[in-house]
C-alpha cells in the first residue's frame, strides 16, 4: 500500500520534520530527528529506484487530482538518479554535520540549523520529483531560502555578506524562473511539463516563448552557477558552515543542472532548444569559459575552500558542455558527472571541513604540514583529489572518458583538449594543497591539532569508498545515465 505513496512521502516527510525540529529545540534531538528522516528518505529513494528502473516511470497525482489540473509527481530514470545523489549525499553529510556543527555554530541555534537543513532537503527533493513547472518554482524557493539561512549560520562574519549576496543573486534567478514559467502559462494555459511539451509546438514561433526560454535559462543558470552567473558561489561555499558546503556542493548545483535538463529537453524539446534556437552554442561557449576560467582562478586562491569552489564552477562547465554536445553520449557524460562530481566534491569538502574543525582555518599557510597530524583526513583529500583529476579507477575517470568520447564523436577534438587541460589544472591546484600539507614543516603546533574525530572521518571515507566503487564498476551509473539520456533526447520529458 505504502509504496504507492513513496513519491509524496519523499517530500512530505522532511517538510513535516522541519517544524518538529523547532519544537524539539535541543541540538542533539534535532540531529537525531534529521538523521532519522535522512535515512528514511534514503530508503524511500531506494524503493523508488527499484520501482522506476524495473517497472518504468512512476506517476503520482497529488491529492488524487489528475494531471494536467492537479500536481503530478513523476519519477523516471533521470529523476530517480538525481534523487539518489541528493539522498546519498544528504545521509553522509548529516552524519558528518553533528560534530562539525557543534564546533561551528552556537548550541542554542543548532536546532535552527537542522530546521533549515530539512527544508532545504525538502526543496531539493521536491524539485526533482515534481512534473509541475510552478510547483518546481515553489520548491526552488523553499530550498533557496533555507539555503541562505544555512550559509548565514557560518561562524565567520563574512558568512553574512556571503549569504546576502547569495540571497540577492538567488532571488533574481528565482524571479527569472517565475517569469519564464508565467510566460509559458500565458501561452499554453498549463503548468504540467508533459502537457506543456505537448502544447508548446503550436506557439513555438512566438516571441513570448523565446523570451520564456531566455528567462528560464538565465534563471536556472544562476542556480547552477553557470559561468558568468556564478558570482554567488565562491563566497557562499567558503564562508558557510563546513557541513553546509558539503551539502550544497553535492546537491544544490546538481539539482540546478537537473532542472535545466527538464526544461531544455523535456519542456521545450531538443528540436526547439537546439534546432531552432541553437542554445548549444551558448552552452558550449559558456561551458568552455567556465571550465578554463574556473580552473585558472582556482590556481590563484589562498583559501583551500575557495580553490574547490572555483573548481566547482569548472566542473559545472563539464556538465553543461555535455548538454551542449546534444548527443546521447554527451548527455550521458553530463548526467554521469552530476552523480560523480557530487561524490568527489562532497568528499573533498568533508576533508577540508575536518581540517577546519581542528585549525579553524583552511588558509594554505595554516595547512602547512597538517598531514603529519591528520594523516587519514589528508589521505582522503588526496584520494578524492585523484578522482577530481580523473585518475583511472575513480569516478572522475568515468565521467571524463564519456565527455572526451562524446567530443570526439562530434569531431570536436578541441573540446577534448579543453577537458584534458582542465584535468591538468585540477592536478595543479590539488597538488598545491597536498604539497603544503605533506612537505612543509608543521606550522600549527598546538596539542589540539590531531586527527579528526571518527564522526567526521567515517562519512568522509564512506564517500571515498563510493568514489572508487563507482569508478571500478561503473556499470550501474553508466547504464542509468545512458537510459536517462536516451529518454531525454528521444521522447521528451
Amino acid at each position: 500500500m505504502i509504496h504507492h505513496h513513496l513519491p509524496a512521502l519523499q517530500v512530505v516527510l522532511p517538510l513535516l520534520a522541519a517544524p518538529c525540529c523547532v519544537l524539539l529545540h535541543r541540538a542533539r534531538w534535532a540531529w537525531w530527528l534529521t538523521l532519522t528522516v535522512s535515512v528514511i528518505s534514503f530508503a524511500i529513494t531506494l524503493g523508488l529506484l527499484r520501482q522506476a528502473l524495473v517497472g518504468g516511470t512512476v506517476s503520482y497525482f497529488l491529492g488524487g487530482w489528475a494531471a494536467p489540473w492537479g500536481i503530478e509527481y513523476r519519477i523516471d530514470e533521470l529523476s530517480v538518479f538525481v534523487l539518489l545523489v541528493i539522498s546519498t549525499i544528504n545521509v553522509v553529510a548529516i552524519v558528518y554535520a553533528r560534530a562539525s556543527v557543534e564546533q561551528e555554530i552556537d548550541s542554542d541555534r543548532i536546532y535552527l540549523f537542522y530546521t533549515g537543513w530539512l527544508l532545504s532537503l525538502t526543496g531539493l527533493l521536491g524539485m526533482t520529483v515534481t512534473a509541475d513547472a510552478f510547483n518546481l518554482f515553489v520548491f526552488l524557493e523553499i530550498s533557496s531560502l533555507s539555503g541562505y539561512l544555512l550559509v548565514s549560520l557560518g561562524n565567520d562574519r563574512r558568512s553574512l555578506t556571503a549569504a546576502f549576496q547569495y540571497l540577492v543573486v538567488g532571488t533574481i534567478g528565482a524571479t527569472f524562473i517565475l517569469i519564464g514559467v508565467g510566460l509559458l502559462y500565458m501561452m499554453t494555459g498549463t503548468l504540467n511539463m508533459i502537457d506543456l511539451a505537448a502544447r508548446l509546438p503550436q506557439v513555438m514561433h512566438t516571441r513570448t516563448v523565446l523570451v520564456a526560454l531566455a528567462f528560464l535559462v538565465v534563471g536556472i543558470g544562476i542556480k547552477l552557477a553557470l559561468f558568468p552567473l556564478h558570482l554567488w558561489l565562491p563566497n557562499a561555499y567558503t564562508y558557510a558552515p563546513s557541513a553546509v558546503t558539503v551539502f550544497l556542493a553535492g546537491t544544490a548545483t546538481k539539482v540546478g543542472v537537473y532542472v535545466l535538463y527538464r526544461f531544455i529537453f523535456g519542456v521545450f524539446g531538443v528540436q526547439f532548444s537546439f534546432g531552432a534556437v541553437h542554445l548549444q552554442h551558448v552552452f558550449l561557449t559558456l561551458a568552455i569559459l567556465g571550465i578554463l576560467g574556473g580552473s585558472i582562478v582556482a590556481l590563484y586562491q589562498t583559501n583551500a575552500k575557495r580553490i574547490l569552489a572555483y573548481s566547482s564552477i569548472a566542473q559545472v562547465g563539464y556538465m553543461v558542455a555535455g548538454i551542449g554536445l546534444a548527443s546521447i553520449t554527451g548527455l550521458t557524460s553530463s548526467i554521469l558527472h552530476l552523480f560523480n562530481h557530487a561524490l568527489m566534491k562532497a568528499a573533498l569538502f568533508m576533508a577540508l571541513g575536518a581540517m577546519f574543525y581542528r585549525l579553524n582555518s583552511v588558509m594554505l599557510d595554516d595547512l602547512e604540514g597538517i598531514a603529519q597530524r591528520m594523516p587519514w583526513t589528508m589521505a582522503a583529500f588526496v584520494a578524492a583529489g585523484l578522482s577530481l583529476i580523473g585518475v583511472p579507477l575513480t569516478v572522475g575517470f568515468v565521467s571524463k572518458w564519456y565527455l572526451i568520447l562524446a567530443a570526439l564523436e562530434r569531431g570536436w577534438w578541441w573540446l577534448a583538449g579543453v577537458v584534458l587541460v582542465s584535468s591538468l589544472l585540477a592536478l595543479v591546484y590539488i597538488w598545491r594543497i597536498a604539497e603544503v600539507a605533506y612537505f612543509k614543516p608543521l606550522s600549527q603546533t598546538g596539542p589540539a591539532v590531531t586527527e579528526a574525530p571518527m564522526g567526521l572521518l567515517a562519512p568522509m571515507w564512506a564517500l571515498i569508498v563510493l568514489n572508487f566503487y563507482f569508478g571500478i564498476d561503473a556499470s550501474f551509473t553508466t547504464t542509468v545515465a545512458s537510459r536517462a539520456a536516451a529518454m531525454l533526447l528521444g521522447s521528451g520529458i
Binding site: 583511472p392 571524463k400 597538488w431 604539497e435 564498476d473
Partner: protein
C-alpha cells in the same frame, strides 16, 4: 594452477606482499623476509605463466567490465612475459640489494619504502600482462602514482622539486596525450584489445599518424625528448629505486607500452606506412645522441647514468618505429639487455655511495683497488651498455642495426654507431680511472666493499650480462615472432 589464476595472481601477489610488509612495520627482519618471499613467489608464478607461453598458449584473465564492453583484462604474450620476467627477477635481486643499502645507508621510513616498492611492482606486472590498452593505462598511472612517494622519499626541498617535475611530466603526458589517444582509438575502432596485426586497419592514415604521435609522446615514461626531464629528477630517490624502477620497471614500462602500441594496436605493416613513424624515428635518434652528449657533461654518477638511460630508451623506441621484424626483435631484446646492464651500474653507484659516500665521478679515481668487486661489475655493466662482447648488449644492438639496414635508413645506423662511441666516452673512463687512476690527494679513509647483500646482488646482475652473451637463444626464440604479421 589454471593459467587465468596464475596471471591474476601475478598482479595481485605483490599487493598482498605490500599489505604484509605494512603489517610487519615493527619487525624489520620479518618485513624484509616478507619482501623476499613475495618476490620469489612472484618469480615462481611468472615462470608458471612462462611454461604456458612455451606451449604456445596465451593465458588470459578477465576481471570485470570497467565500462560497458571494456573490461580490465589480461593476456600474456611473449613481449609481456619478457617484461614481467625481467621485472620480477630483478625485483628479487634488488630486494636483496636494498636490505644492504637501506640499512647501510641508514634510511628512514623503510616500511613505507618497501610497501610502495611492492605496489610499483604490481603495477609493472599489470602493465606487462595487460590485455587491452585501457588496462595498460590504468596500471601505467598506478605505476606513476606509486613511485611518487619513492622519489620524494627524503622529503627534502630537492625531493619536493623533483617530485613536482616527476608527477608533472608523467601525468601531463599521460592524461593530456595518451588518454586522448586511447579514447580516440576506442571511438574510431570500438576496441582497445591488443591484436596481432593491429586494430587500425580502417582508420585513415592522417588520423592514424596523429594517433601515433599522441601515443609515443603520451607514453612519457619512454622519456623521449622533450619529455625526458622527469628521469634525471627522479634520481633524488634512494638508489634501489633508481636501479629497479628508473632503470628497469618504470622506464621499461614506457618503452614496452610503445612496443605494444606499435605491434598490437597499429601493427608493424600499418606502422611502416605512416608518415609520422619516420618523423618520430628521427626524434628518437635525436634523443639517443643528445642524451649521450648531456651524459658526457654530468659529473654526478647517477645523473650520468640517468641520461644514459634516456639515450638507451631511444634505442627501443627507434626499434619499434622501424616497424620491421629486426627492429622489433632488437627493441624487445634491448629491454632485457639494457635492464641487466643498467641495473648493475646503479647497484655499483649505490654500493660506492654506501661504502664511501661519494656521488661525483671525479672523486672516484683509484676506487677500484679498494672495491675490486664493485668496480669489476661496473666494468661488465659498462661493456654491456656499449654493446661489446662478452656481454649481452651486443645482440640487441646487432638486431637494431639490422633493422636500420632493412629500412635502408643508413643515417639511423650512423646514429647507432655514433651513440656507441659516445657510450664509450662517457662510461668507460669511470672503471678505467677507478682501476688505474690515483686517488685524489688527502689520505683517504679506509674504504671497504659495500655490505654483503648489495655485493651479491650486483655480482648476480653482472654475471647475467655475461650469460646473456653466450645464451641469447631463449630470448631470441621468445621475441622472434613478434614482428611478423
Amino acid at each position: 594452477m589454471s593459467p587465468a589464476t596464475a596471471v591474476s595472481l601475478a598482479v595481485i601477489l605483490p599487493l598482498i606482499g605490500a599489505v604484509g610488509i605494512a603489517c610487519l612495520d615493527r619487525h624489520p627482519n620479518w618485513r624484509e623476509a616478507m619482501t623476499l618471499v613475495t618476490a620469489s613467489t612472484l618469480l615462481g608464478v611468472v615462470l608458471i605463466v612462462a611454461t604456458q607461453i612455451q606451449s604456445g598458449d596465451q593465458p588470459t584473465a578477465v576481471w570485470w567490465p570497467l565500462l560497458p564492453n571494456l573490461s580490465i583484462a589480461f593476456t600474456v604474450e611473449p613481449l609481456g612475459l619478457l617484461f614481467a620476467g625481467v621485472a620480477s627477477f630483478l625485483w628479487l635481486v634488488t630486494s636483496v640489494y636494498s636490505i644492504g643499502y637501506m640499512r647501510g645507508h641508514g634510511e628512514s621510513n623503510q616500511t613505507r619504502f618497501y610497501v610502495y616498492f611492492a605496489i610499483a611492482i604490481a603495477s609493472a606486472i599489470g602493465v606487462a600482462f595487460a590485455g587491452n590498452m585501457l588496462t595498460l593505462f590504468i596500471f601505467y598511472e598506478a605505476l606513476t602514482l606509486s613511485t611518487f612517494p619513492l622519489v620524494t622519499h627524503h622529503g627534502s626541498a630537492e625531493a619536493k622539486r623533483a617530485g613536482r617535475t616527476y608527477l608533472g611530466i608523467l601525468l601531463t603526458t599521460s592524461i593530456g596525450a595518451q588518454l586522448l589517444a586511447i579514447v580516440w582509438t576506442w571511438q574510431l575502432t570500438g576496441t582497445l584489445d591488443f591484436v596481432q596485426g593491429g586494430i587500425m586497419a580502417d582508420v585513415d592514415s592522417p588520423i592514424a599518424s596523429v594517433l601515433l604521435v599522441l601515443y609515443v609522446f603520451g607514453i612519457g615514461k619512454a622519456a623521449l625528448m622533450p619529455f625526458h626531464r622527469w628521469l634525471p629528477a627522479a634520481m633524488v630517490a634512494p638508489t634501489p629505486v633508481s636501479a629497479l624502477l628508473h632503470a628497469v620497471a618504470v622506464v621499461k614500462a614506457g618503452v614496452f607500452s610503445i612496443l605494444k602500441v606499435a605491434i598490437y594496436l597499429f601493427g608493424t605493416e600499418r606502422l611502416s606506412t605512416l608518415a609520422s613513424a619516420d618523423l618520430l624515428a628521427y626524434v628518437a635518434a635525436l634523443t639517443i645522441i643528445a642524451a649521450s652528449l648531456v651524459a658526457l657533461r654530468k659529473d654526478n654518477l647517477k645523473a650520468r647514468l640517468a641520461y644514459s638511460t634516456i639515450s638507451q630508451l631511444g634505442y627501443v623506441v627507434l626499434g619499434a618505429l622501424l616497424a620491421n621484424r629486426w627492429g622489433i626483435i632488437g627493441g624487445s631484446m634491448h629491454i632485457v639487455m639494457h635492464a641487466f646492464g643498467k641495473i648493475t651500474l646503479f647497484f655499483c653507484a649505490g654500493a660506492i655511495l654506501v661504502a664511501t659516500h661519494k656521488t661525483e665521478i671525479s672523486d672516484m679515481r683509484g676506487l677500484g683497488r679498494a672495491m675490486p668487486v664493485t668496480m669489476g661489475a661496473f666494468l661488465v655493466g659498462t661493456l654491456s651498455i656499449i654493446g661489446l662482447p662478452p656481454t649481452g648488449g651486443l645482440w640487441s644492438k646487432w638486431y637494431l642495426a639490422l633493422g636500420t639496414l632493412h629500412t635502408e635508413q643508413i643515417e639511423l645506423l650512423g646514429v647507432l654507431l655514433v651513440s656507441s662511441l659516445l657510450n664509450v666516452a662517457y662510461l668507460l673512463p669511470i672503471p678505467i680511472r677507478a682501476f688505474f687512476g690515483q686517488p685524489a690527494d688527502g689520505a683517504p679513509a679506509v674504504i671497504r666493499e659495500a655490505p654483503l647483500p648489495s655485493l651479491v646482488a650486483l655480482v648476480i646482475t653482472a654475471f647475467a650480462c655475461i650469460v646473456l652473451f653466450f645464451y641469447p637463444q631463449p630470448l631470441y626464440r621468445l621475441v622472434v615472432g613478434l614482428g611478423d604479421l
